[in-house]
């Protein structure tokens, strides 16, 4: 088993090779945890020697970071910055782009989440940056505070809302029975104003 077919080495350009290894890393990470993503495994799957991985990434840690960063960059890039329109509609657009990304790139997204949460400080920072990139848009879109006033509580709530949103997509993708995509999107988009409205002492009034 695992019969080695290639006796000739294939020589790629650094960019190609690097890209190939990162893609493979992201793909593999979807079905196993970070510390199960060994150099041995990756080298074998990629059909290269362990040494080459070190040539490109220097260490296992650094490779892991690069993989997670790759997943994060993908997310930010492919989640198109929202078009213009009224705030609530833009919010829906953002959320839709996000959900669609997760649906089509489920594995990659899982890599990001899993890798980040369990890993070291650097990994978590990468993840935090990605999340900020997404949620900051919301504040930027809503500069007039039509939906969200910029207070400590609101900031906290947006953060919480982001976590909720993430959990919602992931859970829904795994088991969508009984909930349509549109319902999911509606819930996500409507949640944010609803949550902000909950703050006691807020002009809009709460519970």
């Amino acid at each position: 088993m695992g019969s080695v077919t290639a006796t000739t080495r294939t020589r790629l350009t650094p960019e190609e090779r690097r890209s190939q290894l990162l893609d493979l890393g992201v793909r593999l990470l979807a079905t196993r945890s970070l510390d199960e993503l060994s150099i041995d495994l990756l080298a074998e799957e990629a059909g290269i020697s362990r040494g080459l991985l070190y040539h490109y990434f220097g260490s296992k840690q650094a490779f892991h970071e690069a993989v997670v960063r790759r997943a994060a960059d993908d997310l930010i890039a492919q989640t198109a910055p929202p078009a213009d329109g009224e705030p609530l509609e833009r919010l829906l657009t953002s959320v839709t782009a996000y959900v669609d990304y997760v649906v089509t790139n489920y594995e990659g997204y899982l890599s990001l989440v899993k890798g980040a949460a369990g890993g070291n400080e650097t990994l978590r920072e990468i993840y935090e940056e990605a999340r900020s990139a997404l949620t900051d848009r919301i504040f930027r879109e809503d500069a007039q505070g039509e939906i969200i006033p910029d207070t400590p509580v609101s900031r906290l709530i947006v953060r919480g809302w982001a976590a909720m949103t993430e959990e919602l997509v992931l859970a829904w993708v795994v088991d969508p029975t009984g909930v349509t995509r549109e319902e999911l999107l509606a819930v996500m988009a409507a949640s944010l104003p609803a949550l902000v409205a909950v703050v006691p002492g807020d002009p809009r009034g709460g519970a």
Copy 2:
């Protein structure tokens, strides 16, 4: 530094030893990630041989699982099951117990979250169980559906709400400036009904 003082071995009962090792594991996990929690490190910190760890836990994986399970059990046990009263008040009680637990046991809780998210299937299951144990109470408390109807969307929302709640405490504990404990609790408790009310087609009406 780290001068080895003990030349005599100390012999404990299996329960004592096991407990000591798990406690130490949880404590160490607070300041490093799971895969930085090596057998070597733990053995040295505990002042025992590596062999003893294998005697008690069989493998590194199994030890990690035991540590995470320990943290989960702690959480469930110390978060007292809610007293009786009206649903909304019971919800607040639940949430309060949860927040207070996280505040006083921050490190242990972090171990649970970090360990679970990054780890293998088993670790994630342990975490899921803990979360279910907490949220299932809410459905149980609210058997009449006074707050939450038992539908697929609601189930999903409660799940999302749990994720949000977790994010809120963790973020708040790290930086509580501008938000009092009572505000936090109010937001958390009020969020759930607010979120459920957001569902389109729900009798209570939505956005």
